[in-house]
């Protein structure tokens, strides 16, 4: 009798929530829109991707919604950008998602930073230096040459989770890498005027992009990473920008425009609005559109600055 009492609710639950034979696609949750788009480009219809954070959000401060918990609970794979970029929301969600297959180190945890050589690995991890990323600066996605390395790590991760789809993922990666190679040549020409340009950004998230295109970043509007600007810091920054003849203020869409405008007005520099994530700027639903929109915004502001 007791076993019947137990088996009845179990049977009911299986009937309600059991396997759904029609849905064969691999359930992939992406922490951020860049890795979501890359996974889609590589996996095609073989995978079904849902994304946690939006492009216009500050990835350091994404709300932990219960609807993300259910997505993670049912995921076959989790794709992250990595290097601790998702530390503000992902650990809290994973702690309650009850899915050990997608925890860090498990096969279903796909880390797009695997092949990146990180920049700005902090020597000191004291909080006097602001909110640091101990593994290095995690904003490598803004440089398309790093994007190629991300795509490779994602394709290999998908193949690890779903070995039967190896051909799909390898072919998807090959065609995506070809597309990126062609675009990188185009973008190098487009961004040629940026070489040697002096700029400040709001948050220190442009270093990979600046390194590739030869932009000279001289400071940030934030006092320290993640620490809002103080009046004293802004005064010093403005003086430094005037001294070093900085002509460009790069404002990421997740941060306030008025402060960037104020700094630009005081120094005669131009403001370029970029996004640190795919989808942050209008018309950038893919990673390729995102890189191009950022470069066009920078080149346009640089040209306007030169004209003035």
């Amino acid at each position: 009798m007791a076993s019947r009492l137990v088996s009845l609710p179990v049977a009911l639950m299986l009937a309600l929530f059991g396997a759904e034979p029609g849905l064969a696609a691999l359930r992939v949750v992406a922490s951020l829109p860049d890795v979501a788009d890359m996974a889609r480009q590589i996996g095609g219809t073989r995978i079904e991707v849902t994304t946690i954070a939006e492009g216009g959000q500050d990835p350091h401060k994404v709300p932990v919604k219960p609807s993300f918990v259910t997505k993670l609970n049912r995921a076959d794979a989790l794709v992250v950008q990595g290097l601790g970029l998702e530390h503000a929301y992902l650990p809290a969600l994973l702690e309650v998602a009850r899915n050990s297959n997608i925890l860090p180190g498990a096969p279903g945890y796909i880390d797009a930073s695997l092949y990146i050589h990180p920049l700005e690995i902090p020597d000191s991890q004291s909080r006097t230096q602001g909110e640091l990323h101990p593994l290095g600066n995690p904003h490598f996605n803004m440089d398309p040459t790093q994007g190629k390395l991300m795509a490779r790590a994602i394709a290999e991760g998908l193949e690890r989770v779903d070995p039967e789809g190896a051909e799909t993922y390898r072919a998807g990666l090959a065609s995506y890498e070809k597309l990126l190679d062609e675009k990188i040549v185009e973008w190098d020409k487009l961004a040629a005027p940026l070489r040697g340009l002096k700029a400040v950004s709001y948050h220190p998230d442009l270093i990979y992009l600046a390194q590739h295109y030869g932009i000279d970043l001289v400071g940030t509007i934030e006092t320290k990473p993640g620490v809002p600007a103080t009046p004293g810091h802004l005064e010093e920054l403005v003086a430094q920008m005037k001294r070093e003849k900085v002509t460009l203020v790069i404002r990421e869409i997740a941060y306030e425009l008025p402060l960037a405008q104020q700094v630009a007005e005081q120094t005669g520099a131009r403001v370029a609005t970029v996004s640190s994530l795919t989808g942050g700027l209008p018309g950038t639903s893919t990673y390729v559109e995102f890189v191009e929109a950022n470069l066009r915004a920078l080149v346009a502001a640089a040209a306007a600055g030169g004209a003035s």
Partner: protein
């Protein structure tokens, strides 16, 4: 240099050595000298032949390398790691944080004056224990109480069927704010209604099982059994004989059921609903019901730091009290003690609006009944403003107008909170 030239140089050296070697002149006969020289020459020829072969092999290798310049110039293979880059963790060291929550307050009535308060000094430690379990502890000291183990709990991490079991001392999953730590609240104090009915935080010793429905819709159900939940005014461990702990009959334990769900209304608006039921079948014969509703507006655009949270929570309590003052003797004026069932309700509604990354302000209205119900009530209207200089530091000012049966009291509180170490609010304090 070609091998042929090397060989001819070696042969010339050998001839010179033969001519000027002092040993050669000391041979006994010419025949003997000739055969000795022939043997030496044969050995030298063999040595030269081996050297020549080795030089030729080396030359082939050099030619092969020179013929493949592209391969030699290929970039090094990127460093390949296992599957993920994870921050290094020392298995012997758990995550540790310490919260410092200090307050200064003044009020206009009653004990008017000013005072300083250590609202919380809380050490929080957590770590995985093995692949199946994690543990955490919260050790708390305040001005009013000495150090106290607020929580010391074990939580399973890999049970099947989306089940999680928690055991030990922890904050029972009743309502919304009853199980939040003081420093995580959006106010300087816990709402008075929660203080009155739960007795502060919902601290409990017991075991709790929660189940997450494997559906796209967030549905979570918690079932718990505890000695008591929150401040337990009726039971004392000494009442229950000599057994260790606070043993009591099954019908004297507290049982909690809490279902909760969540809806994304739009991309930027969501609604969270919860209901709680606590019962103690005998003795206090307590029935406590609670509902909580939380609405959030969280724009996902460049105004991301802006937004609003609206929260409402209401509790209905029905409980047997023994040995309480139930009236006054009309002739002597002495208190009359007795027992009886008392109903008291209470709750709060609040909103908090975020204006940018640093500032938020909000207001709260709270209605709290004491043991005798509406006859003994407190209405508190509050306004609060919060400033966060960084992620790990917060200053908050709160004004409360406290209306009881007598004259209203006004209280002004300044709170300064900071977090040392690996502080994370986690999912529960979302």
């Amino acid at each position: 240099m070609g091998p042929e030239r090397s060989v001819s140089r070696a042969a010339a050296l050998l001839a010179l050595t033969a001519l000027f070697s002092p040993g050669l002149g000391q041979a006994e006969t010419p025949d003997n000298q000739i055969s000795a020289l022939k043997a030496e020459l044969a050995a030298t020829k063999g040595e030269l032949s081996r050297t020549q072969s080795a030089l030729e092999a080396l030359e082939r290798k050099v030619d092969a390398l020179a013929a493949a310049p592209a391969a030699a110039a290929a970039p090094p293979e990127p460093r390949k790691l296992e599957t993920a880059r994870i921050a290094p963790v020392n298995a012997d060291n758990p995550a540790i944080s310490f919260v410092i929550d200090g307050q200064a307050a003044t009020n206009t009535q009653g004990n008017d004056g000013a005072g300083f308060l250590l609202a919380t000094g809380e050490l929080f430690i957590s770590a995985p224990i093995d692949p199946f379990l994690r543990g955490y502890a919260s050790i708390n000291g305040t001005t009013d109480e000495s150090f106290n183990i607020e929580e010391a709990a074990l939580v399973t991490t890999s049970l099947p069927y989306n089940l999680t079991v928690k055991g030990g001392r922890f904050m029972a999953d009743f309502g919304r704010f009853p199980h939040w730590h003081d420093e995580a609240l959006p106010f300087v104090d816990r709402p008075p209604s929660i203080e009155n009915i739960i007795g502060g935080e919902s601290i409990a010793e017991g075991v709790e099982t929660s189940w997450l429905a494997p559906t796209d819709q967030f549905i979570q159900v918690t079932l718990g059994t505890y000695n008591s939940v929150g401040a337990d005014r009726l039971f004392d461990s000494s009442e229950f004989g000599t057994m260790p702990g606070s043993q009591r009959s099954f019908s004297q334990l507290s049982y909690v059921v809490r279902p909760q769900t969540y809806f994304d209304l739009t991309d930027t608006m969501n609604l969270e609903l919860g209901a709680s039921w606590l019962t103690v079948p005998t003795n206090a014969n307590r029935e406590l019901y609670g509902v909580d509703v939380t609405f959030r507006h969280q724009p996902g655009t460049s105004s991301f730091y802006q937004g609003t949270v609206v929260g409402v929570e209401w509790l209905w309590n029905n409980e047997q009290f023994d040995n309480v003052v139930v009236g006054t003797d009309p002739t002597t004026g002495a208190d009359i003690f007795g027992s009886g069932r008392f109903r008291r309700d209470g709750g709060y509604a609040y909103f908090e609006s975020f204006f940018n990354r640093r500032f938020s302000l909000g207001a709260r209205y709270d209605y709290a009944e004491e043991i005798f119900g509406p006859a003994d009530r407190q209405r508190t209207a509050s306004a609060f403003v919060t400033w966060q200089p960084s992620e790990f530091q917060r200053l908050r000012f709160q004004f409360d107008n406290i209306g009881t049966t007598g004259q209203d009291d006004q209280r002004f509180t300044l709170q300064w909170t900071a977090f040392i170490g690996s502080h994370s609010h986690g999912f529960a304090a979302r």
